[in-house]
């Protein structure tokens, strides 16, 4: 349990967050931190991860704790460790001590929680032990698979409003996560030419994160098969002509995430075809970031990426026709089938436990268009939002060999020209971008993304 790096400013921050929430709702809120999830047997658990909503308002990753918020008044419920646990887990901070650190007004043992559940809203926590307890105490089904309803839905919307833009304390953590992530990617690049399999590059990257006493914010992708979007295999050997795609991010001790992707050549040097496509993806990346500022629709950023990619592929002779028309026909999604990015905060897809409540502006819904359906964020940008910008180019067999898609887009693609790009299976470039009133700030700007700068970092 982490309580060392707290301070009065933490208390102030948490108080402000709780007051913001109190200004939006008029019912009590109970948030559980959650408990360990078992791995292969009950005592062998995955590393504990507190619920993000709890972390946001309580600030510390306390296992098996509960906060109750009402009109800015904070009660902490948790049990003091049993005396016998000191043998195995050492002297743990006591309830009163923790209450002080997070600015709780009252601290009570867990058994008293059932006296205070009347009329309270909550958000489902992920582990079964805890959502069982939530359901029992609140006398209704509280399950991570069920979208919230009633006051739980009102609470979810209020939390989205508060968490959608980041305060200074959050940004300080997000910058820390970004800085360590930048260092991890540099270490991965530097380790590549001497590595034999993907796992060795992953090790170099995650070692940086672990050494900073952080964890990965999601399961790392470090793969020569970048065309498999969520590839979590690391056993492939590194071949000189191939690209390596690394999507790896750090998460700070109190839960704030980074999410960064770079793609580099295993030999250090891009082939001319790889470089051509890389520059197309980078152009989309740069155009999107240049366009970001408060008020701009994120969907327009996405469409801009699609257009720049289509344009680049026209220039390379892969697409035939006009970029705008190609995008209108969703042809870009043949090679860029996902969204341009998502919210980033305590979760790498921030608040995705609430479905599209956070990502989608009220009354907007996911499109069923091939080129838009995977967009995770569709809101006008606001100062203090943190988003990823992650354009990509992939040759996904499941798409390019799909008979329907192939016939639909047959005349728009120069398939023969495309066949010259077989050494480009997947490229993505992803940075974490803070929206400001005037424009944006790239939190991960310290990690180069120009092809030649990346080549320099890989060496070889």
């Amino acid at each position: 349990m982490l309580i060392q790096n707290t301070s009065n400013s933490l208390v102030d921050t948490l108080r402000q967050r709780r007051q913001k929430l109190a200004s939006l709702i008029d019912f009590p809120v109970i948030l559980w931190s959650g408990n360990d999830s078992p791995r292969n047997y009950p005592a062998n658990v995955f590393p504990f991860r507190a619920s993000s909503h709890f972390l946001y308002f309580a600030g510390l990753p306390l296992p098996n704790a509960v906060i109750r918020l009402e009109a800015g008044f904070l009660e902490l419920f948790m049990d003091d460790p049993k005396p016998s646990s000191a043998l195995w887990h050492g002297e743990m901070p006591r309830r009163e001590e923790i209450a002080e650190k997070i600015g709780a007004d009252v601290a009570k043992p867990m058994v008293e929680l059932e006296l205070s559940v009347e009329g309270a809203a909550t958000i489902a926590v992920q582990d079964a032990g805890t959502w069982t307890q939530q359901s029992q105490l609140l006398d209704r089904l509280v399950l991570p698979q069920i979208q919230p309803a009633g006051i739980d839905l009102e609470l979810a919307k209020a939390i989205v409003t508060v968490r959608l833009t980041h305060d200074e304390a959050a940004l300080a953590e997000l910058r820390k996560a970004a800085a360590v992530t930048v260092e991890a990617h540099k270490a991965g690049m530097a380790a590549t030419t001497s590595a034999k399999i993907e796992a060795e590059v992953r090790a170099a990257m995650e070692a940086v994160i672990i050494a900073h006493n952080m964890t990965t914010s999601y399961n790392s992708i470090v793969t020569v098969h970048g065309e498999v979007l969520h590839n979590e295999q690391y056993h492939h050997s590194l071949q000189p002509g191939d690209l390596l795609l690394a999507d790896v991010g750090a998460e700070t001790e109190i839960g704030w995430a980074a999410d960064v992707t770079r793609t580099w050549a295993i030999s250090g040097k891009f082939s001319s075809t790889q470089r051509d496509i890389y520059d197309v993806v980078l152009a989309a990346h740069d155009a999107c970031i240049a366009k970001i500022r408060a008020g701009v629709e994120y969907e327009d950023i996405h469409l801009l990426a699609c257009t720049v990619i289509a344009e680049g592929l026209v220039d390379l002779g892969i697409f035939k026709g006009n970029a705008e028309e190609l995008v209108e026909m969703d042809a870009h999604a043949l090679f860029f089938p996902h969204g341009i990015g998502h919210l980033l905060g305590l979760d790498v897809h921030d608040m995705e436990d609430l479905g599209d409540l956070a990502g989608y502006e009220e009354k907007r819904e996911r499109s069923d268009r091939f080129g838009l359906g995977y967009l995770r964020l569709n809101r006008p940008l606001r100062p203090g939002m943190l988003v990823t910008i992650e354009p990509g180019f992939y040759q996904v067999p499941a798409i390019l060999n799909d008979a329907n898609l192939r016939s639909k887009y047959h005349n728009l693609v120069n398939w023969e020209r495309l066949s010259q790009f077989t050494d480009v299976r997947g490229i993505r470039i992803e940075d974490d971008v803070l929206v400001t009133t005037e424009g944006s700030e790239v939190l991960t700007a310290a990690l180069p993304n120009q092809a030649s700068a990346v080549e320099d970092l890989v060496g070889g």
Copy 2:
């Protein structure tokens, strides 16, 4: 999903394991592999870990798969990936292909499982999604927290019988895990003198494990507070006079574990007091391993460790009196409060999901003696069993400051002499030992444990 390094010999091994099981029971068995456990939101999951019982009989870490065994006949139930999943997860092996790899006689879609559940026994899997499914299909409560009963208990006992000793295929994996773990510890030692906090040493160790495309078999302990037995904090700074205790083990891709502890000086060189205690712990370690052979009671190994430690502490003037008598009075547990070790296999505490069914010989129960209660294994040793030997010395404040214990053992401890050993908070030396007919084989013998050899590896 891992299917690359399989072979005909895997099929043979699995068939033999299933035949052994079939010879012990006369009812059908259904084993679930389990599914992902969510971390902070449903799509952000912990790395998948298949159930150990499934892994033992099916050999591959397949998510969301089921095997049904009856009289040596094997049915595999799993769904082929949806076409849409190819975009995100790539082309996955199909059911028929996997059935062939594991030697299944039949392969069926999951929906057919409900036709074959009649009279079948099972073991609860850890993730809630799966034990819910187990309970529904078998129409009884199947929960990891509930000890098995009826045919489930019969199955558990039969599985214990089969898994208690390791076949050649298992040993090959266990040796791989041991070898990588040895390398990880060497890397940790080498990284220490230039590291500033515990996390940096942990990073060096886990990087070795990740680089071999393995995972840790339990949450690593890398701490200057070795007296906290299950310490999972890594933020403490490394001070030159302190010891570092590292309990870190690798797990192979198909689930087989290692479990190794070394303790070394942060400066590289033990102080004379640290060295004195280290040599006591090592003497216990060596005496235990020398005594291991088929037929010996593991409890006697534990008591031997207690005696050697008590003896060493008498020689150092910390204990007063006679070693055997001290152990009879449980005085050793003031400084060595845990058991000498446990079974090791697919789980780091092998089959601990079955409570003490695996660890304790039928009709034996845990002692409530202070010096024996934490013993996890109490059986006569048999050839092919793999056990850990992990004696230790700790100054646990919760024990040494306990008023009852202090008064009970007041005259047996020279407290003034003890106060000269404040720079020894916790020492443990742990190796993985295979029981043979003639004696034993230390799978982790390549990692030195002599004080001077450890000093050489740390350098500084």
